[in-house]
């Protein structure tokens, strides 16, 4: 069972210290990620969707140990990645690699493309120079770049090609998990499809496991096996792809899906459906549902206690955090 799991994250929380002290005299801290749990089986993709400020990127960066976590267990390949320190952590880093959003700032402008892909191998320190060369050649071919392009500098590539270099770099150490942080949102529409197809074909070819961060539900639907909807640091809904898109259950998920403009001429988006309420202050302790202030179905019960992720009645694995589970009229 556990050897099929690539990633197991339990009770992950991340907080950022703020200036000043709160009313209770304690140092103020912003709880960016609040007690989230998720699993990814080997070779599968989990998508975390959310709007800006939802904490989806912070959660992913905490999994990669690039921002410090407040609490939680991170297990990769059965290794307790969350507690490693110093040299052990540095060594273990090759198990997680990241594909970044911005193809311009994510490549070191002073390194040639081949050297950029070599970098993780050098830090991992387990391969000979000749072996590295062989891996680099193989990866350049896999991501659709020509071998002679190894000698070029990043500024000589287009955005899509730069993203291919970033993907080759992420693959170089054969990581157990690849975090894709909005990997196509900075690219032109036509190039997005090229990169999404590449990511999918590489997943098939190398059996990759993705943690896919995106704000674009269409992309997430195309790429992911499971979907977690995040709002204000918490998961609102967590389900497999089929179940989620067939019937999104959480009012926030429904609002997100409704807001996406479709090419069906008749279907006007139901914009303005959300209540224009106060955004909760994440430096204060939580008293009710974080989404209640914007939820069109909110009632008194929503402000009493924190809703927990629970199975939707009659299903296994389609979970949502809502006090009103099923008691509001779905559109």
């Amino acid at each position: 069972m556990s050897d099929k799991l690539a990633l197991d994250v339990q009770n992950l929380s991340v907080s950022f210290p703020m200036r000043g002290r709160g009313a209770d005299g304690r140092r103020r801290a912003l709880l960016a990620v609040d007690n989230v749990n998720f699993l990814i089986a080997r070779g599968k993709t989990l998508g975390i969707v959310g709007e800006s400020g939802s904490g989806k990127t912070t959660a992913a960066m905490a999994v990669a140990r690039l921002v410090p976590k407040l609490a939680g267990n991170i297990t990769i390949d059965g290794i307790d990645f969350g507690t490693l320190d110093n040299e052990a952590l540095r060594q273990a880093r090759q198990r997680i690699q990241i594909i970044f959003q911005d193809p311009y700032s994510s490549l070191n402008p002073r390194l040639r493309a081949g050297e950029i892909v070599r970098e993780p191998l050098v830090y991992a320190g387990e391969t000979s120079r000749a072996e590295q060369d062989r891996i680099i050649d193989e990866l350049f071919e896999a991501v659709g770049l020509r071998p002679e392009q190894k000698a070029l500098f990043p500024h000589q590539f287009s955005g899509g090609q730069r993203q291919r270099i970033g993907i080759a770099r992420a693959l170089s150490t054969r990581p157990s998990l690849i975090i894709c942080d909005e990997p196509v949102s900075a690219l032109d529409v036509a190039v997005q499809a090229q990169i999404l197809n590449l990511l999918k074909s590489l997943q098939g070819q190398f059996g990759l496991t993705y943690l896919f961060i995106s704000h674009d539900l269409g992309v997430v639907q195309h790429m992911c096996d499971d979907i977690a909807v995040m709002y204000m640091g918490q998961f609102m809904e967590y389900a497999d792809r089929k179940s989620f898109f067939a019937a999104p259950r959480h009012p926030y998920s429904q609002a997100l899906l409704d807001a996406v403009p479709t090419i069906d001429i008749g279907a006007q988006p139901t914009g303005g459906k959300l209540v224009d309420g106060e955004i909760p202050d994440l430096t204060l302790p939580q008293t009710g549902c974080r989404f209640a202030s914007r939820c069109p179905h909110a009632r008194d019960v929503c402000n009493g206690g924190v809703p927990q992720l629970q199975d939707w009645p009659g299903s296994t694995g389609h979970r949502l955090a809502c006090h009103l589970t099923g008691t509001f009229a779905t559109s």
Partner: protein, 298 residues
């Protein structure tokens, strides 16, 4: 349907192919800057004169060779003689060596101290940054001339002490620039990528961030060579430089009382300082244009 990996651009979609090092672009940019090119030529002449001049014109600058205040061009003295009847040409050539050396060494020292402070402060942030930047600010608010005079007065007016005194008072600008660059670059995703790939902190600082932070530091260092030369001239003018070596500032300082009788003894070394420092700052400007990516974009 074919996998995406095959979708390399077809006919005509790809043009750039030659490996162009970012540096090459900068060199081209610099060569196109006429003022900087002229300044480079002038500075090369000054440097060559300082290196080879004393060999081609082997006259001891401290030896009295003729009557004082011989005007330039007379009695075979190209630049005349000073108030003690010493050969001005020999003084200028030997003085150039000293002035340029002090300028270069002091600037290198500033760069070394400045980068160390700035890099550590910008990379580690927090307490390290607080402490290092407070120290930097302390040096910044010291009255520089007074402080270096104190150092020279305490440790004696030797060439080494003068150089160190200049270096110690002028590194703060480099520290601030380095810190600002580190703060900016450490947030870029390629640094995160290197960290995620397992780079150690030392590698991140020296191999990843520093090379990308260098352009503005190089410009500042170039300008600092000029200001160090001026600073030394100021100290020497006040009689606070090594009396056993001749420098441009010292020539001006020692001939100062006779400025109305024999102006050339002051104006000639003055002109040498002016031309050298101007060339250096024009080169610095040229480097700035060539290295500054924002200007390079358009």
């Amino acid at each position: 349907m074919k996998p995406a990996a095959d979708s390399a651009p077809r006919r005509g979609a790809e043009i750039v192919d030659k490996a162009q090092h970012p540096l090459r672009e900068m060199v081209v940019m610099f060569l196109a800057n006429r003022a900087a090119m002229v300044a480079s030529i002038v500075l090369s002449i000054v440097v060559l004169a300082a290196i080879f001049g004393p060999m081609l014109h082997p006259v001891d600058p401290f030896e009295m060779v003729w009557a004082p205040f011989t005007p330039p061009g007379q009695e075979g003295f190209v630049l005349g003689t000073d108030y003690l009847g010493r050969d001005m040409l020999a003084a200028l050539l030997n003085g150039g060596r000293v002035s340029l050396t002090i300028g270069l060494v002091a600037a290198l020292m500033s760069v070394f101290i400045g980068i160390s402070f700035g890099a550590l402060a910008g990379f580690y942030r927090g307490l390290v940054e607080e402490v290092l930047m407070r120290i930097t600010e302390f040096f910044q608010v010291l009255p520089t001339l007074l402080f270096s005079m104190v150092i020279v007065a305490l440790f004696g007016a030797s060439l080494e002490v003068v150089t160190i005194a200049i270096g110690v008072v002028s590194w703060t600008a480099v520290a601030r620039i380095t810190r600002a660059e580190f703060l900016r670059i450490r947030e870029l995703e390629y640094v995160t990528a290197s960290r995620a790939a397992g780079a150690s902190n030392v590698t991140l600082m020296t191999r990843v961030i520093l090379p990308n932070a260098l352009p503005p530091i190089i410009v500042q260092a170039a300008l600092m060579v000029g200001s160090a030369i001026l600073f030394e001239a100021g100290l020497a003018f006040l009689g606070l430089s090594d009396p056993n070596v001749v420098s441009w500032g010292q020539i001006i300082g020692s001939n100062r009382p006779y400025i109305l009788d024999a102006g050339f003894t002051v104006t000639i070394p003055g002109l040498a300082i002016f031309v050298t420092v101007l060339s250096i700052s024009l080169i610095g400007d040229g480097l700035n244009d060539a290295l500054n990516p924002k200007l390079r974009a358009r």
